[in-house]
Amino acid sequence: MSTTLIAEQLLNGLQFGLMLFLIAAGLTLVFGILDILNVAHGSLYMAGAYVAAQTMQVTDSFLAAVIVAAVVTGAVGLVLELVLIRRLVVRDHLAQVLGTFAIILIANDVVKMIWGPAPMMMSMPPALSGPVQLLPELLYPAYRLLIIAVGLAAALGLYLFVTRTRAGVLVRAGASNRQMATLMGVRVPLLFLGVFVLGAMLAALAGALLGPVTAIQTGMGEQILILVLVCIVIGGIGSIRGAFVGALLVGFVDTAGRAFLPALLKLFFSPAVASSVGPTLAALSIYILMAVVLVFRPSGLFPARG
């Protein structure tokens, strides 16, 4: 196990974690402010990927694909909030989960009706399609470096937004005490609408960004949603900082599990056992991590509300 490999796997953990963060950020923001668990967030991510892929096929411009995806999905989010989400906000968590799950069912079929069941192609921008030499022995895909860059930028941007801007302060006010915020003149429904649309656009950004490296097909939202839910639960729902930490933790544990666990097991057990138990344990590793965290911190690591 060379140091290059270890360095590369660390970068991979970081990259996977930031990938998850992009999606988790929108979800946890919406949960923290609107107090609604929107499992259709995965469908917004899927919509972003599909629209980006379609735009890319038509215009051949990656930048256009990202922008169009964000705008269109933002619009979808706007409609969704006005028509449905605001009715679910006042209901209990079960109703919210079920209502947004219904959206998943509808969205999957709508996407299939528009684009068909076969996976969609989104090619990588040629400039970023090869590797970059980071260290003498370490070639790393340029595109993954882009993901890392965008992820960090998004984290920084959200942090500044929430702590430094006036809108961000309003958002925090709305989160911590809705009634007080209303009494002080904050137009809460408008705030909610804005936050939801922002969440949708973040999901779309993630979808457009991940389009070139993942399979764009119906059900892609649910696949990644499970992982994202684990991230925000570990981190503490409602907290951007929690989503960041949770996502990175999941990214590192999952990558390390896949990279090092089978080899580690081989030191103690026979190759046959290692190769059959290793992958299973690696697959379970993030769920075990979540269970452990919840045993000691039942509300996650950085719960947004006391």
Binding site: N12, F16, S129, T255, T280
Partner: protein
């Protein structure tokens, strides 16, 4: 008096009419909304093309094709098959894409004496210990593609191999099949998670291992993810990519595109296979479906309907005589798009396997090109376990 005579004549003819008009029923369980939705859609297109060409008839006799989606779910497929058997009284069955569904519904169909012609899955259980007269693995046996790929890798002189598959029985079977064909020791075996999205960790291991080639069995979206990421990591410059035909067919090519160029894969069919029936099929498919090239799933589905048609013709439409139907089916006396083949004792085909490479055709389309033959007449390794 004349009325009475007319009524009597009608009454005498009625039973004859009833017999003549009972259509032959084929139950098709489509896979249109589950994990194999894309492949199921291809199969459905293959079925529909064949049905259209036959004018909705089988062996010239009226036929009914019942198509219902069961979403790749074994429980729902079971439910559907029960309905087909008990309510619709089907005479033939086909449709599922996944081995797990085939294993779930097979026993019920066999017990009800309904021939099940497989348009894709070829589980080793049905090739060996659980083989059955009512099963026809028309397409292939699951291990075949992998063994052929192993031989291709060995023939091409790849000494150091890394092989990858998801951590489930089909994945393990695939890698075992590959090892059998490869015959030499494999460098590293990597098992990934079912449904895994990000392969960065595995790609790093790959880079560290520096093999001559990597063999992947990653069906569906997993393969698409891996190949995109493999190329983006620049690994395709130094490591050759080998896979079974179903990881490298038209559906994956349409989703991945250029990054797949140069990938070797094995299958029992290629769209540029040089025989009359195949040429006609590919042309008709392109005409029917907006110039789309058929994948192996469409070809297999097409073959199944044609096989049923031939058997019905041979038995002159008397499909209730199941023994005769089985004999007719076993003869495989129809023009298959892959060329002539025959069944082994376990009703799996003994047929040639080819190696294909993904290239850019003169018209700019990225597609598979037939390169050579790997096995002249390959028979699966499980036939010995089949004791009927």
């Amino acid at each position: 008096m004349r009325l009475m005579r007319q009524l009597l004549v009608m009454a005498a003819l009625l039973p004859g009419l009833a017999f003549a008009q009972a259509p032959i029923k084929v139950g098709i369980a489509n896979d249109l909304s589950g994990p194999f939705a894309a492949l199921g859609a291809e199969a459905r297109d293959g079925f529909n093309l064949a049905i259209k060409q036959l004018g909705g008839k089988l062996g010239g006799k009226p036929a009914e094709f019942l198509q219902t989606d069961m979403g790749g779910n074994p429980d729902q497929a079971r439910q559907l098959v029960n309905r087909y058997i008990q309510r619709d009284k089907i005479d033939f069955f086909t449709g599922p894409i996944g081995s797990n569904v085939a294993l779930a519904v097979g026993p019920v169909l066999f017990a009800a004496k309904i021939p099940y012609l497989s348009n894709n899955p070829g589980p080793s259980q049905f090739a060996g210990a659980q083989c059955n007269d009512y099963w026809f693995g028309v397409s292939y046996q699951n291990d075949a593609f992998h063994e052929a790929a192993g031989k291709v890798a060995a023939d091409r002189g790849y000494k150091k191999m890394v092989i990858m598959a998801p951590d489930y029985p089909a994945g393990k079977d695939a890698l075992n099949g590959f090892k059998r064909g490869f015959k030499n020791a494999v460098g590293q075996e990597i098992y990934t998670k079912l449904g895994q999205i990000d392969y960065a960790a595995e790609l790093a291991q790959l880079r560290d291992a520096k093999p001559d080639a990597v063999y992947i069995f990653l069906p569906g979206g997993m393969g698409i993810n891996f190949i995109k990421q493999f190329v983006s990591a620049g690994l395709n410059q130094s490591i050759k990519l080998v896979g079974p035909g179903f990881s490298a067919d038209e559906d994956v090519i349409r989703a991945v595109g250029e990054p797949m160029l140069g990938m070797f894969n094995t299958a029992q069919w290629a769209h540029d296979l040089d025989n009359q029936q195949n040429k006609k099929f590919v042309e008709a498919f392109r005409k029917e479906y907006k110039n789309r090239t058929p994948s192996v799933y469409a070809a297999q589905a097409y073959d199944v309907i044609m096989a049923i048609d031939a058997a019905v013709k041979a038995t002159d439409g008397k499909v209730s005589d199941r023994a005769a139907v089985l004999v007719a089916l076993k003869k495989a006396d129809f023009a298959s798009v892959r060329g002539p083949f025959k069944y082994g004792a376990n009703n799996f085909p003994i047929q040639p396997y080819y190696v294909r490479v993904i290239e850019k055709a003169p018209d700019g389309q990225i597609t598979n090109k037939l390169v050579g033959k790997v096995f002249e007449s390959y028979q699966d390794v499980y036939v010995g376990e089949c004791k009927k």
